[in-house]
């Protein structure tokens, strides 16, 4: 049986009907991982022994007819900036290369209680800062569709493992597109929930006001299942929201706006055509589609590169060699801290810490960080207003399909541009999803992005499911078949 082509609900039903066992599925995804890792390097760690044992325990539960949940026995990979008790949480940084977490993140606790099998920790750009995993201190992850191409980032590892079938689904984190952009590059579904609907407790913070954990899956349905099992108010996260979700139309009455500014310059023809293709399908389906303008989205990138570095400059201060992580000797405490940070952080991380420190400095705060905060609330207002006219917004997820290694490392601005379409949703705190739509001329995956008002996550997922059906794109990478 080829598990890679099965959805979570299909697997779950086979488990319940005793036609398939969790240990068999785990064995298959582990085989896929062992085969693919040498080429794509998507995992930083595979939990073979622990996962095998967990799968057998799950076998027993199904045997007795009392699984813990509908996702009991589903093998899931975790981005290595989410804490899993007694395992390393490295954030792909030399700084935390020896750090073992003493606690579970809230999302991990929830999945654990649901009987999920954790397959391992996946690669990322150091501290989730990057768009290609090229910033990982432990080497980049390759795109399973073509290893000469990047898998996107920062959740490149999490997207690649789902794409190649070495996990049924994975968790990533999204600060400016870090779930959606790699999902788009790897031809899988990536969902960034409304800020505050999924607890951040245990997610190593990059930019606290933007970070959000979300699922990367083979299908929208899978994303929905995983989202439903990790969402909910968490008393350990003061920014997690108590309000319940709200519903908006998901059928042909749903009105869709095309964001004009995200269809213009900077967007490749290939990416734009995928949106146009989807619009055509939606119109045929009876949905009303109109062009809308969000002029401030043009400023989103600039706002993001003030707010995210500012927050990260403080969030990453705790890595000083005093209590955990690596330590570089120095003749005084301060020298030790300086040496540790000089040695432990990579170039991109240092660059952003400096940028953020500068933006918050006396005399510059008002002009940079203060201004960015104002612009951010203006963007949020713009979204609120536009959502009075339409239910959903559509755009490309990324300006181009996955680029090649080294293509953008020399030009950071161009690299930053790859998050052009995804950043606005983080600034506004709204949910957004990337759905694969087809392949480029170079046979690399293409996608569209859908956004909706805050706390309409369930509706967005439902509407996305119907679009997924309209698109009926379900091609997979042939990497493993080619190898076998």
């Amino acid at each position: 049986m080829n598990v890679s082509n099965l959805s979570i609900s299909e697997i779950s039903n086979l488990y319940k009907n005793k036609e398939l066992k969790p240990s068999e599925v785990y064995e298959e995804v582990f085989t896929n991982a062992s085969l693919s890792e040498s080429i794509i390097h998507a995992h930083l760690k595979l939990f073979q022994d622990e996962a095998t044992e967990a799968s057998k325990l799950s076998d027993e539960r199904y045997e007795k007819g009392n699984p813990l949940s509908d996702i009991d026995g589903i093998p899931i990979a975790i981005k290595d900036n989410i804490n899993l008790k007694n395992h390393e949480t490295t954030c792909s940084s030399k700084m935390l290369s020896n750090y073992v977490s003493p606690y579970d993140a809230t999302v991990i606790k929830k999945l654990r209680n649901n009987g999920v099998i954790f397959t391992g920790k996946t690669n990322l750009d150091e501290f989730a800062m990057g768009s290609s995993t090229e910033n990982s201190a432990f080497g980049p992850t390759k795109n399973p569709w073509n290893p000469e191409h990047v898998p996107g980032g920062s959740s490149g590892g999490s997207a690649a493992v789902v794409s190649v079938g070495s996990a049924v689904a994975s968790l990533g984190s999204d600060t400016g597109g870090s779930i959606r952009q790699p999902a788009s590059f790897c031809g899988v579904v990536g969902f960034k929930p409304t800020y505050g609907t999924v607890s951040r407790y245990g997610l190593v913070a990059f930019a606290s006001s933007l970070d959000q954990i979300g699922p990367i899956t083979n299908s929208v349905e899978d994303a929905k299942i995983l989202y439903n099992s990790i969402k909910g108010h968490d008393p350990l996260d003061a920014t997690s929201i108590k309000e319940s979700l709200v519903e908006i139309p998901t059928d042909k009455n749903a009105k869709v706006g095309v964001v004009k500014e995200l269809m213009e310059e900077g967007i490749s023809d290939e990416s734009r055509k995928e949106v146009e293709k989807t619009i055509k399908l939606l119109k045929e389906n009876g949905n009303k589609v109109v062009e809308v303008s969000l002029p401030l989205t043009k400023m989103a990138l600039s706002i993001y590169y003030l707010i995210a570095p500012a927050e990260c400059s403080a969030n990453l201060s705790r890595f000083d060699g005093v209590r955990y992580g690596i330590r570089e000797a120095g003749s005084t405490s301060y020298e030790m801290m300086e040496n540790t940070r000089a040695e432990g952080f990579g170039e991109e991380v240092k660059k952003r810490i400096l940028l953020g420190t500068y933006a918050l400095s006396a005399g510059y705060y008002d002009a940079y960080y203060g201004q960015a905060l104002k612009a951010r609330s203006a963007i949020t207002k713009d979204f609120e207003n536009i959502f009075k006219e339409v239910d959903y917004l559509i755009s490309p997820t990324t300006p181009t399909p996955a680029f090649k290694f080294g293509e953008k490392t020399e030009n950071p601005l161009e690299m930053y541009m790859s998050d052009l379409c995804t950043i606005p949703a983080n600034l506004a705190g709204i949910p957004a999803i990337s759905i694969p739509t087809g392949l480029s001329k170079q046979d690399m995956p293409l996608s569209i992005q859908l956004m909706s008002p805050a706390r309409t996550d369930s509706s967005l997922l439902e509407f996305s499911e119907s679009i997924e059906k309209l698109l009926s794109f379900n091609q997979r990478t042939s990497l493993l078949e080619d190898m076998k």
Binding site: P102, A238, T239, A314, S317, D320, R323, S333, Y365
Partner: protein, 479 residues
Amino acid sequence: MNMVPTIGIETHVELNTNSKMFCNCAVVETENPNESLCPTCLGLPGALPVPNLKAIESITMLALSANCSITKNGMFHRKNYFYPDLPKNYQISQFDLPVGVNGSLEIILNETKETVEIERVHMEEDTGKSVHKGSGRIDSATSTLLDFNRSGVPLVEIVTKPVIKSSKEAVSYIEELRQLVIDLKISEGKLEKGNLRFDANISVAKESDNELGVKVEIKNMNSLRSLEKAIDYEIKRQTKLIESNEVIIQETRHWDEDKEVTSSMRSKEGSADYRYFSDPDLPNMILTDEFIDNIKKTIPTLPSQKRDKLSETGLSNSESNYLSKSEEWIYNLFLETQKLTNDTKSTFNLITGELQGQLRKAGMEKLPEWLTSEKLSEIIKMINENKISFTSGKEILTNLIQNEMSPSKYAEDNNLIQDNDSDEIAKIVKNVIDSNKEVVERVKDGEEKLVGFLVGQIIKSSKGNINPSIAKDLLLKEL
């Protein structure tokens, strides 16, 4: 040249909440390091802060009691600086939207009521503790041990405006603040435990200058005595510099407890830029009218209100101040007893002098339950009516502390009732004059202090049953 010192004081008050400010760890009192820790107060990657509601209630109560305006839509900021015992290398604090602003505290300085204006009252978390080995300072230590038990303990910082004019006033202000947090039951208020820690900003200027001088911050004063000495030292030091036309450097100075001098800390803090920004992990601190009203209802009688009540009995400001800073039961005992005796002076003296002294000697912290205001007033009345001597009153009190009994019955049973029969006393007076002729002559020659000796002799021969003032009157008449 007249010099004017100006002082502002920043006080950190450690709250007495059960748990820390942003996590569920218990606030512990232990010598064992690193016992009460979790991912949050240890700054582990991924851990998040959740505000302690009890602490926010406490600071709101303090801010209201210090007559502050309450910021209804406040927030927490991150104060960024690196220090090994600061786990996140930023401290969660408040910046431009503190819980309380523009308040004031009434203090008693000598016999005068003064007002110390409060600039702000804000909430923050405490740091861990560093123990530097090899030397007391981080820069020259051979090794440093870290204890994070204190990390994350809720602190309230109270900042005065630069309005304090002397070390005495500064001490009086801290005493008032200390009493306030004790009465509000939001802190243990123990200086020796570091529950209250203070820094002073001191500047000296010529009176003619009409503006403040260069500000110098003094740290490391951990008692009222060192606060007073450090301020006096610093005022003298700055005055001398101004008088000799030397420059005062804006800096932070360290109070050396042993040498009793301040010395420059050469710290980097002079140029510190804390890069404050609102903490994205914490939502805005919304204090609703309902919340504030509920807190107002729980505020007990404040020290200043106690003083007003005490003053009504005729106590002086400093006496009222003394009782407002005594324990609750002493304050209540005074008011109840005074009501019964209607004699403010005697009641005050007996309670604050004799009673407190005897209790202290007996090692007792509280009154035995039978020692009521009624019993106390009985003793005071007997003394006032000259039925017993003050010495006998003391004796009754000593026994009353140990055993339940009736003061008047005790006085009778033990022959303490004074002989107020003037004929009887006159006889004794005459006897004393006759047998001390030499002394009497010297008194007549003007050696008035020997009167006391003669009075003593009279009381002695009466076995203590003569009221000394009556004896003295009669003696002087005879002479």
